[in-house]
């Protein structure tokens, strides 16, 4: 059932130009400062890296025992590591793990957290209380110590496993936020109208509430992504989780504890390369989340 | 900075003396796309001892006009020109800081709509009343509370209960009345009520109007009521003014304006009201929509786009005020009508 089909031609024109104006202004918000454009570019580059990176290099990166910790050169723009492997290659191939695990974690928190939040917010008296108790419990437990304890019974080394664990321990924030939104939306006119029409709860949630919660959730998710990246890198950095091949966190771990990069200037590139990548992507995600905030919160607009 | 300790006593009627004189007031919102006129060249007198009503649709500028009486236009709004003079001398728009704060509260009292949360949700009503008093240099808490109790009793409220309540514990009608108490605590003699009956049920509406009438009489106030509801204005006010697109298009004694409306907009408003008796088809809505700030005509009469009586001359110049027996209106066409 298309809305546009039922509008007379002039109103259709008006509606189209209104929505065109809306996407135009959203684009303007996005490109308002050069910083934001850079942030978008950074995220796109790293996503591409994660998608195609491993295909650009052979499965086992070449090692070269005679070229350890080489300084940056034309052949190795970022230098080499303790086994003579090109650091740039390590970065590009290592991106996949970091981003994939974070993405999986985001999906898991999205599913669990949104479901919990919608349920608790739409049925505050029946589902609400038990769900919120569980949510508060999950939220209260400090994430990193919990992951440390979990690592004793399950070594979640693969991206899928890492993503699952991070997701299962981290959905509390989204659940709380979605619940708050749902509670307030529930009292709004259009939702009351839908309920008054006797539409089943599931239908109302799906068609009325979910679309309104979605933009807010997607912004929240971007911030959560930074948290996931930082947590998984932390787990590798402290050696809590072991992984066979390389990723940025493993590189950091090797750089600090094996290569002693903090005091040895030769291996500085080995430390800085993954570090800068991590910082770049987290700052970019934070900037893009600000963009989303401005788009969906007109009060903050400057135009 | 001490407030008046007793309401001013008046003898007889004081009509003819303006407690508030608005002259050529123009307020605009400054945006990157230009100035949007909210109030344009408004002249209005609020006469002492009288209740004046201000009628208009949303966006007509009536709330902006009311706020300008207290020099409280929120940015990006700005007063472009004009003056608001109080009876005891002085242009409110020229005041700042302490002097302005003194006027707000001791000279003019402003009452918000009931639907707005005009009280600090974290503090009890009594404490907030004391805050108002102390901000104006009144140190005697007991005296303030005594005055508050008297006012609350006048409003028909349980003084003890209300004073110790928080805002969320009060109903809409109670909040409206508490708002009036706040406005009169320091014995202001000008009272402005912004949409006092909107968001209230019919019974509460009647109650509030009764209270306003009573309080106005006992304290010899000068009252301004802003409403989009003509029936409220017609019921309570001695004089009324009609606003459209930031201009006062008609103004005069209520009886005169309602019986013989002279501006096409006023006539349209009255025609649009369905009567309790009679055929509902007699009520005709005014075609078109009220202009938003950016679409107000810059030349000629502002009402011209929707006016059935418009002539080519209406497009060129703004109609000047025509005055007939204390009844003022701005229209070329109706001015030429024979009575």
């Amino acid at each position: 059932m298309s809305v546009t089909a039922s509008l007379p031609p002039e109103q259709l024109q008006q509606a189209l130009s209104r929505s065109r104006a809306r996407s135009a202004s959203r684009w303007r918000i996005l490109v308002r400062t050069p910083g934001r454009v850079i942030a978008l570019a950074v995220v796109i580059i790293f996503t591409l890296m994660a998608l195609v990176g491993p295909y650009l290099y052979p499965k086992n990166l070449p090692i070269n025992a005679s070229d350890i910790y080489a300084p940056p050169s034309l052949a190795h723009p970022l230098g080499t590591d303790f086994a003579g492997t090109d650091i740039l290659a390590l970065i590009v191939t290592g991106a996949r793990y970091v981003l994939l695990a974070a993405f999986i974690a985001a999906v898991v928190t999205l599913v669990i957290g949104t479901a919990a939040g919608l349920g608790a917010g739409y049925y505050p008296r029946s589902f609400g209380r038990p769900i919120m108790r569980v949510t508060d419990f999950v939220l209260a437990i400090p994430g990193f110590p919990l992951l440390m304890v979990l690592s004793t019974i399950w070594s979640f080394g693969s991206p899928l496993q890492m993503g699952l664990v991070l997701g299962i321990t981290g959905w509390g924030g989204i659940a709380r936020a979605v619940r708050a939104q749902t509670l307030s939306l529930r009292e709004r006119g259009f939702v009351e109208a839908a309920r008054g029409l006797g539409l089943p709860g599931r239908r109302v949630i799906g068609t009325e509430i979910l679309p309104n919660v979605a933009p807010y959730v997607s912004m929240n998710l971007m911030i959560q992504l930074t948290g996931f990246i930082y947590t998984e890198v932390g787990l590798f950095f402290l050696g809590i989780v072991k992984y066979s091949s390389s990723n940025w966190g493993v590189m950091l771990n090797n750089a600090v504890f094996q290569a002693d990069a903090l005091t040895n200037p030769r291996s500085l590139s080995y430390l800085l390369s993954p570090l800068i990548c991590i910082l770049a992507i987290t700052i970019s995600l934070v900037t893009l989340a600000n963009v989303g905030d401005e788009i969906f919160n007109p009060r903050l607009r400057r135009i | 900075m001490a407030a008046r300790t007793e309401p001013e006593t008046q003898t007889g009627t004081d009509s003819g003396i303006a407690a508030v004189r608005v002259r050529d007031l123009t307020v605009a919102f400054r945006t990157p796309e230009g100035d949007l006129p909210a109030v344009s060249h408004v002249n209005l007198d609020l006469f002492r001892g009288q209740i004046t009503g201000l009628v208009g649709e949303s966006g007509s500028g009536k709330s902006t006009l009311a706020l300008s009486l207290l020099n409280a236009i929120p940015s990006p709004g700005q007063v472009i020109e004009g003056s608001v003079e109080l009876g005891n001398g002085g242009n409110v728009l020229a005041l700042r800081g302490r002097a302005l704060r003194k006027v707000r509260g001791t000279d003019i009292g402003y009452v918000f709509q009931a639907s707005q949360n005009s009280l600090n949700p974290l503090k009890r009503v009594g404490k907030q009343l004391l805050d108002v008093g102390r901000s104006h240099g009144e140190r005697d808490s007991r005296e303030l509370i005594r005055r508050a109790r008297d006012l609350l009793d006048d409003m028909g409220l349980d003084a003890t209960r209300v004073l110790s309540s928080y805002q969320h514990e009060l109903s809409g009608g109670m909040r409206q009345r508490v708002g009036i108490v706040f406005a009169l605590l320091l014995n202001a003699n000008v009272l402005i009520l912004d949409e006092p009956t909107t968001a209230l049920d019919m019974l509460s509406q009647a109650q509030v109007l009764e209270i306003v009438r009573k309080v106005h009489a006992t304290r010899h106030l000068t009252t301004l009521i802003i409403s989009h509801d003509i029936s409220v204005i017609g019921d309570l006010c001695d004089r009324m003014a009609v606003m459209y697109a930031g201009r006062v298009v008609e103004e005069g004694p209520t009886a005169s304006v309602l019986a013989t409306p002279r501006h096409p907009y006023t006539r349209a408003l009255l025609t649009a009201m369905p009567r309790i008796t009679g055929d509902i088809a007699e009520a005709r809505a005014l075609p078109g929509r009220p202009p938003d700030l950016s679409s107000i005509p810059r030349e000629g009469c502002v009402f011209q786009p929707r006016c059935a009586l418009a002539t080519p001359g209406c497009l060129e110049t703004e109609p000047p005020d025509t005055i007939e027996d204390d009844h003022r209106f701005a229209c070329f066409v109706t001015a030429a009508e024979t009575r």
Partner: protein
């Protein structure tokens, strides 16, 4: 009276949470691949201990007897817990876990609490400033800085602080709680040195949370500034100072959610900060016990962390109705 009932419910909920976590720890010890208790038991038998001796030795170490039925083990475990007996360390033979975590806990708690207080004071002040000066360079600058600091991982912040202030410019010591040159006690030298050693870690804790305070305070203040009652107060001629107090107290309310989460967040950061600065707190205990496979200590430290967080949350929940009359029950 509803108030006491509400408190009672909160206490019971807290105890249930502790019980759930404790039980989870219990199951953890048994689910670990290569159940260390069993391994130990087998080792001892191999060395010639009688089954009873082996059982008792394992029980002393792990807090339970491997051969008993699960329910009995569980009962024994809970009983020990209620007596605040968390078992014994494997790494340091015979040392009670409760002793280890009890000596480590104060270091972490004092650091975390200082961090929470410092970040709150700095963050709220900056947040208010950025709200009042929004749309200006200062306001936007503060917001930007707050957002960036919020996004940088704690270990990077801690490592940077160590590198810049303790290695490059050796202003502060590189780690540890206090130099051995000073005798412990209430003397200025000792206390001063303690503080010098604490500056960088506390700074790291502060930086980990200050961003969140700044951003939340800013949005909260902006939201309150737009509220009707502020305009109403100004129209009633209320003094600017009083209006400012109205704004602040109303803006503080949403900050409470952060306060409840603060200690939990701090504990997560503690693992990194105590590692970088070699601070013998609970975070470091978690790390060392994990690396040493010293499960009783790991379990005990984690349990203590959970208990602290639950108590902190309980206090915060208790305090909230005092501040916001709209949630009071009576």
């Amino acid at each position: 009276m509803k108030l006491t009932r509400w408190i009672a419910v909160k206490i019971v909920t807290g105890l249930i949470m502790i019980w759930v976590v404790a039980s989870a720890m219990f199951l953890l010890l048994r689910w670990m691949p290569g159940n260390p208790a069993q391994t130990r038991y087998a080792e001892l038998i191999l060395h010639g201990d009688t089954p009873q001796q082996a059982q008792r030795a394992t029980a002393a170490l792990y807090g339970f007897i491997p051969k008993q039925p699960l329910i009995e083990q569980y009962g024994h475990y809970i009983w020990q817990l209620l007596h605040l007996n968390l078992g014994q360390s494997i790494q340091e033979e015979g040392v009670p876990v409760s002793h280890i975590v009890a000596t480590a806990a104060p270091w972490t708690l004092i650091m975390c609490l200082s961090g929470i207080v410092a970040s709150f004071l700095i963050g709220v002040t900056l947040g208010v400033a950025s709200a009042l000066r929004r749309m200006t360079k200062v306001g936007d600058g503060i917001t930007w800085v707050g957002a960036i600091i919020n996004g940088i991982p704690t270990y990077i912040v801690a490592s940077l602080l160590l590198y810049v202030f303790a290695t490059e410019w050796a202003i502060f010591p590189q780690g540890g709680t206090v130099s051995i040159l000073y005798t412990p006690g209430w003397n200025a030298g000792y206390i001063g040195n303690l503080i010098t050693h604490a500056v960088l870690p506390v700074t790291a804790y502060t930086l980990s949370l200050v961003g969140a305070w700044i951003l939340t305070t800013k949005s909260s203040v902006i939201s309150v500034l737009g509220d009707d009652f502020i305009l109403a107060a100004e129209l009633r001629g209320i003094r600017p100072l009083t209006v400012a107090r109205y704004i602040l107290r109303n803006a503080m309310l949403p900050l409470f959610t952060i306060l409840s989460l603060a200690l939990g967040l701090m504990f997560s950061g503690a693992v990194f900060i105590e590692d970088v600065f070699n601070y013998p707190g609970l975070g470091q205990q978690l790390l060392t016990s994990l690396n040493d496979n010293d499960y009783p200590v790991l379990s005990g430290a984690f349990l203590l962390i959970i208990v602290s967080v639950i108590i902190a949350n309980f206090l915060a929940d208790l305090a909230y109705p005092l501040i916001d009359p709209r949630v009071r029950r009576s």
